[in-house]
Amino acid sequence: MDFNSDLTRSMVEPIILKLVSERPMYGYEIIKVVNERTNNAFQWKEGTIYPCLHRMEGTKVIRGEWRDGPTGRQRRYYAITRKGRALLKDKAVEWSAFALAVNTLLFGNSSATGALA
């Protein structure tokens, strides 16, 4: 399923924050994990993740660092910062409230899954 680009763009940052909060990851790895966990529901153009990562690094929510990757090749790994964790927490709460509000409006109750079923 193709999602509206405006909808996905606003969620890229929280998704990246969530993933790098689990462990430091490099750009390609992030895309791979997103695809795996969403069953390829998100079809990101791979190159587009880098501007986002750089922007987030600029705002100091993540920190990039060159390290040796699993194949021996150097990779730029990104890790979440303290500021990033705080932001992730805020975003998660915000999304939760937003999803609840949208579900309530669209389906009359708070369970999207039930409505879709």
Binding site: E46, T48, E57
Partner: protein
Amino acid sequence: MENTPGGESLPREQIEELLDNATAGLKDDPELQLDVRSELMSHLEAAEAELRDAGVAEDKLSEEALKKFGSPVELADDLVKANRARMKLRALARLTARAVMVPLAVLTAVWVYYNSSFLGFEFFEDSRGISYIYGSDNYFDSQLSEEELLIMHGDKTRKKWHEQQRAIWEAEPENKVYYGNYISNLFTSGIGEREGLTREFLETEYYRGMELDPDNARYHYLLANLWLDEACNYKDETDYSEKEPQAVYTLEILDQELFDQAVAEILKGIAKPQYKNYVYEMAKLRLQMLPPSRTLDELAAKIDAMAWITLPDLSRARQQFNIIFAYAKQLAEAGRKEEACKYLEIWYPFATQLNRDSFTLVEVLVASAICKKAEEEIPPIYIAMAMPERAEKARDQAHRLASTVTAWREENKAVRGTIGEYLRREGSLLTAYMLPAIINDFDKEDLTPSRELEQTVLERTMFSCLLALFMGAMVASILIALRWRFSSRAVSPMLLLPTPPEFIKILGLGVILPVAVFWFYTRVSGLAGREFSVGYLGLRFLLEMILLSLTILCLTGNLAASRLRSRCRDLQIPVPEPGRIKQRVLWILLGASWLSCFFLREKETSMQVFIITGILLGVFFLVFYLPDLLLHALLGRRVFTLKLYSSWTFNPILMSFIVIIASISLWPVVGWRNGFRQYEMGVYLYDLAIVLTFIIIMVLLTMIITSLVSRYLLCKKHKQLVGQRDYASYYGTAARSLIPIFAGAVILLSLLVTPYLRNREARLLAQDPIFTDIEEEVSVSNPEAETTRELREGINRIAAEIEVEKQGGPASP
């Protein structure tokens, strides 16, 4: 990028094009552009590897990977937008490093060097050290007003010294002190100084003195001395080489009338209430204009000014009384008893007059010497005239007046032989030079401030040298970066700035940690031998300072290089393997040298260790380490491999060649420097420091250049052993990126260490009980002032007792 694993199957041109297009907007920040490029490249390689694992055909790999990657044009826009703020910040940081840090480092280094103590160099010139401080009486000139400058030096536009001094009096014609100072300077020897000083001229000047200062005996004595020079011929033929010399002299009167006039002037002089040469008053006036000493250089300049105070009357006074004694003897032999008795009594009022006015030890000693001579020579004359009571009385008075100094000399005799050696070992150079003739009893603790003061000055000087080393490293880095700036063989050198935490780590571990450890070692540990003088263990202290300088420079350089190496790897810039063996040898040598220092407590051993360590470290640094590093950086290649080392570096022919060329190059410099020493210019000390610095630089440069040339020739001869990889980009970038780090080290050292050392110097100077500011005492040192005061007062007390006896009072015990 050819060494990147897994990149072979992607069409290179296509990838390069994509990466160029994607990062085109970042070209103003080459480091960021390379960084992003590397990141994108690693992404494409990972994508390709995964596609291969998924069974995609090799010829489709690149196409698929690029398709998944997306449009480079859109990406380029997004990358610029995402990095805009960061690029601005980074541009500002680079501008700060280039336009602020580097000039600031140069300015602070110049400031520190300008304010550094050249006395530090002097310590190693000669263990007497301070004896070479000449002619620095203009040290404070910049701090004085026009009026003060006139009083300090006189009118320097005038040709002769005494004319310059006359100008001070001319500005205030009623001032007796200024006139006395002018008269003292009439006796200055120098080219052309004595021209025009005719008898008539001097008579006029002395008569003016009598008119201006009618209670002062001085001008009568000077006039008498002037006339005696013409009126008689006195020859002292005593053999002073004998253990107890017997006075042998002849007096031939050439002009009896003039001689009688001279003697009459002496009689007028002894009738005056006082004798004053005003040297003390003038010296005090001048020293009070000078600011309090905050550095040893300033104190030394003041001591120098004191040391140059002339006491022209003293030699004249002794000569005058030799003549008077000889004349009285002649009169006695001629049976003219009454006249003889009159002249035999002159010594007493003169000696007491001179003693009352004295403020230096030498003046008191001359006054006492006159008494001693009177004790030996007058009684036999009275006895020859059959006047034994008078003989006994004169002997008694003279003996009692001389007894104060005699007792002091006896008291000093016990320590005089050993005190000099002791002070040289545990005192300071200043105390060892100034005190052995004066001191008879002192508190050991009193020597500490002066000793530590000189150690601090040495540290300050060596820190200036360390800054110079860093500045040299900066210049070398600039030259290497420029070497590759316009080269087609390398990417233009980038400025890779460390992040603030990295910067703090490099300077913290490279600069602050060694300085802190050194501080603990020298101030707290008790292992640093700081209870010994700079003149005694100076070579050890110098070696430690050299080791500290090398440790700081190498540690900072290595930490920075290690960080740059890693960063260049991130950016896919080919990096040579570090020379691990040389690094290990370096740290082993430095560590062993430090260890060898710790327990040195003997001057001779200190010298041996200094020479051995100096040769080892010097040869290693100047023949191997530095030339290798420079050659690699300038050629952009790994030039010397281990194989080449083992085949050629230890070749005795090459080593002999280097040593011979270095020695030949140094010969004229040493010769010139020796010639310089014999030529005493005005500010000798500074000239000497400049020459020494020049020699050190010449030694370093000669060894480096000789090694460089010989190794370059060797390298050309053995091309097959020279590394083939091109590391020009790395060396250029590393050199350029090291500049702000060295600049940071210079600023940190200047702001951290120099103020601490200057404050410590000022504090120790204030604590020093031996050389406190001499403006209060008008003396070279407190012990001298104290000794002079005690002796003078002792003689005055006895003179007062004699006066009471003369007026019929009680006899002295």
